[in-house]
Symmetry: C2
Subunit: 255 residues, 2 copies
């Protein structure tokens, strides 16, 4: 039916009971085609079905819970339910992968330069007035140059939110996720560090202009212009952090 990726053959090591139960429940969800919110069997029924103790079943549910696949509620009508992995959790789980792998600012911007122009182009002529207004409202959040470092930081975070929001409007869920993930990393960095060395008003003004021009091009349905503007914007932002080759991700994301 559906391969579970589990290497049954060869030196397939013995997996603990909670892991086997968790895999069985996953397979069952797939076979039944269950949807987010659908009920899973309760603890007592699972105990009977698998012939295992309550503790083992509970550990299995924890394995699934950590992956965002199930949610549990207490009380009458409670129990376990199929869960849709949230974007935030997916960000956190992926961030853990990079915790022991060094990623530089340059690495992130290499992807942003390649991907964000694609988003801009694919959105040309496809944003509703409401969405355009929402994006312009974000840009208005940094209409004036930053007074101090705190304001500078707040504006930088807002600017990142602009990009993440823009990407969330893309049809391509994979593309949207990746850009949202990178925005999240840069936001976390910004909150805990002084990311930009020297606030440069000229560059700031250029960046803001880029974003407004970008929205205009998108509204006009000019895909190539939107792509070009976004590329310039990204390359400029990249240069602004030329000296920031320090690695990032020195923390675990919490769920």
């Amino acid at each position: 039916m559906v391969d579970t990726g589990a290497p049954e053959t060869g030196k397939g090591r013995k997996r603990s009971r909670p892991i086997r139960v968790a895999e069985a429940i996953k397979d069952w969800v797939v076979e039944q085609g269950l949807q987010p919110g659908d009920r899973l069997p309760g603890e007592t029924e699972l105990i009977a079905r698998f012939g295992m103790s309550k503790g083992t079943i509970r550990e299995a549910m924890r394995l699934l819970q950590a992956q965002g696949l199930v949610e549990t509620k207490t009380g009458p009508g409670g129990g376990s339910f199929v869960g849709e992995v949230s974007t935030e959790r997916a960000h956190a789980l992926l961030a853990n992968y990079f915790y022991f792998r060094d990623i530089s600012i340059a690495d992130i911007y290499q992807l942003r330069v390649a991907l964000e122009p694609e988003v801009a182009a694919s959105l040309a002529g496809r944003l509703s007035p409401e969405r355009l207004a929402e994006l312009r409202a974000i840009v208005e959040g940094y209409a004036a140059p930053a007074a101090g470092p705190e304001e500078e930081r707040r504006q930088h975070v807002a600017s990142l939110r602009f990009h993440a929001r823009l990407a969330s409007f893309a049809d391509n869920a994979l593309l949207a996720f990746m850009i949202g993930f990178m925005s999240q990393i840069l936001t976390d960095l910004t909150v805990y560090k002084q990311l930009y060395a020297a606030p440069n008003e000229a560059l700031w003004r250029t960046g803001r202009r880029h974003q407004l021009d970008l929205l205009a091009a998108i509204e006009a349905g000019d895909a190539e212009a939107a792509r070009a503007i976004m590329r310039s914007h990204m390359e400029m932002a990249w240069e602004m952090m030329e000296d920031q080759q320090a690695v990032v991700m020195k923390r675990f994301m919490t769920h």
Copy 2:
């Protein structure tokens, strides 16, 4: 010290004890700067330190285990150890995110077209003879046109492995991960479905030529040529599956 992302304030809902323990252990690992392989306190010590029962502690360890952050071993010298999240597990966890979100072949190729040329360019003149030989050996795996559908499938998987392996040589861990993830998705698809409608020998020959030309350009250190070849290659591969707009990911990845 390090923010855990845990919303203590406001409507911060009551989190269960295993979750709180898991978060505390995560924070502790970060604070102590522990590395993969480092020992974590044993069950009995954690029971004492947190003043909680064995079952609760064990559920906490399962939460961490599912995220790939810890591994446990039985016996003398056993216990819990800090784990480095494997690429395979990260692939699986991310695949879960997209299980209920529709991704099309076109979505994947939109990213591949944007990203893989970057990989090719960044690798120009930077691959050792050994690595070039390894990649050429993969290409040799489909030197002759496929006889039947099975062989066709095997060759397609090998071709995807070529791209994943190439990306793994990139300095950019984020870029390498994304390309590896997409290759994994396409490989899984290929194994269970007939991905390509009609095997076309002319296209097959062009694709193989692309890959060999690409390796030559990389060996010669010609970044722009490598980028251009890869872009053509990706665009061609994309067109080969024009009709394949069906969604994918209809299964949970099992760890």
